[in-house]
């Protein structure tokens, strides 16, 4: 509750700046319209005009709010104009890709920690894979997968997995290697096998690192799903909404889709954060 006032203050400042920017950026179009009609437009007239354009350069906050409301609550959930429908399309690819990426990441990390050959060879490739711009790879992945008959959800999930496996690998390798020498010595005095050391020591101590990586990974997976929707001349999903909005100059549509994507990302990270709190508290490792 104490944090409420500062947060509201910052939000108000942002909204105020947004309105000012909207007036400023949309004014040129109004002036051009007025010049075409041979009239002049005063500042007092500019104000309301710039905040209610059909295709503004920068939509005003209330316009975005109306667009959001319309998209979320004003449409039947199954209709192609419903943001809920599009959000679900993107989210389903995100969640599937996240699951695949996390599993792959954990398996790779286990391999890297236990196998010297993998330790030396996998990391450089993993890092290299992330330096290639995803916007370049996404169309290739989609085209290749479509040509073998895999289309729809799975190619987007693959792109999401591609972006989300890397933080998991990095975090889990660090986490699996985090037990200190004393703990490892203790297990040596019990003559514990490597598997026993893994299940009883390495895996539990890596939990805090895992959750941190999951938070980064799920945001990356959402980005991957949206990027995956762009190349196919997008039909459904938030990426599709963004794309069609930019084709037809529907800036309010773009901003509304953007906000839904942002809320979705925040919600996903918050869910992981909640699971993290509960799990780490039960494991006595809550910070």
């Amino acid at each position: 509750m104490k944090a409420l006032l500062p947060i509201l203050t910052v939000l108000s400042v942002i909204v105020a700046l947004w309105y000012a920017a909207a007036v400023w950026m949309n004014a040129q179009w109004e002036r051009d319209q007025a010049a075409r009609a041979g009239t002049e437009v005063t500042f007092a007239q500019l104000l309301p005009l710039t905040m209610s354009q059909d295709r503004p350069v920068l939509p005003a906050p209330h316009q975005v709010a109306v667009g959001l409301w319309d998209g979320l609550a004003g449409q039947a959930i199954t209709s192609k104009r419903s943001l809920v429908y599009h959000a679900w399309v993107t989210l389903s690819a995100t969640l599937l890709g996240f699951a695949i990426g996390t599993t792959a990441g954990i398996l790779l990390a286990v391999g890297i920690v236990h196998n010297r050959a993998m330790d030396l060879s996998v990391m450089p490739w993993a890092i290299a894979s992330q330096t290639i711009p995803i916007l370049a790879i996404a169309p290739m992945i989609i085209v290749v997968l479509n040509s073998v008959g895999v289309s729809g959800l799975l190619p987007k999930a693959v792109i999401s997995a591609y972006l989300s496996f890397f933080p998991v690998v990095v975090g889990m390798v660090k986490g699996l290697r985090s037990p200190d020498a004393m703990q490892l010595d203790l297990l040596q005095t019990y003559h514990a096998s490597r598997a026993a050391t893994f299940w009883k020591l390495r895996l539990p101590t890596s939990m805090p690192y895992l959750f941190t990586s999951l938070k980064v990974g799920i945001a990356a997976a959402l980005v991957g799903a949206i990027v995956g929707e762009l190349p196919t001349g997008a039909v459904a999903g938030l990426g599709a909404r963004l794309l069609s909005g930019s084709y037809y100059g529907q800036t309010v549509q773009i901003w509304a889709a953007l906000f839904v994507a942002a809320f979705a990302a925040a919600a996903l990270v918050a869910v992981i954060g909640a699971v993290q709190q509960v799990t780490l508290r039960r494991m006595g490792m809550a910070r």
């Binding site: 703990q183 203790l186 005095t189 019990y190 003559h191 009883k200 039960r282 490792m285």
Partner: protein, 266 residues
Amino acid sequence: MKDTSNIAGPVVEARGLGLTFQTGDGPVHALKDVNLTIERGEFVSFIGPSGCGKTTFLRAVAALEYPTEGTLTVNGMTPEDARKSRAYGYVFQAAGLYPWRTIAGNIRLPLEIMGFSKAEQESRVNNVLQLVDLEGFGKKFPWQLSGGMQQRASIARALAFDADILLMDEPFGALDEIARDRLNEELLKLWARTGKTIGFVTHSIPEAVYLSTRIVVMSPRPGRITDVIDSPLPKERPLDIRDSREFIEIAHRVREGLRAGHSYEE
């Protein structure tokens, strides 16, 4: 688990033992020409300043370090074979309990790894909690216990699988003096009850003299034994014995040994 309690011969035998670490600054002679025999049922303390090799010796017995010269046998076998036959329990300076397990769960850790049945685990955990006076704390988590209690749980963990050797590396070093006194008394009672052979590394002269039947004084550069003192004190020792004349004489002799090994010089 092999029953080694009727194996004849010394528990630990070191002959000409040497351990040299190769570091970036050149070789470090952690142990040089160490000759020591530890018999069954003894309580042997190792005392000396930092770098004198006492921890290294204990770790060599535990097969956590490997000697570069000489011979070392534990229960008549190589230290590694002794480790494989689960001949000893090791207690570190920090309790090192897992925060995600209860105290009972922590004590169960070696039992799970060594393959004891669930029923066995249950009964052993209860026995050993009683032994260290932590009955009723099985379901608590480590953060709910004080430092002294955590260390007792760590000792319980080392006793759970009936190893007849207990190796303790400055276990009470991180505790305050009052907790230390209490734990010293409890350790002696434990030793009397279980008859284990105990190797105990410490920095504290009073602690070494109070606890042991034999005191091994070591000094650094290179790590070696300067004196081995057989304690004439009786086995039953109240804490007050630390004010007696014999105690002070032994402590004096320890200090002389440390001085002879240049432990008090830079």
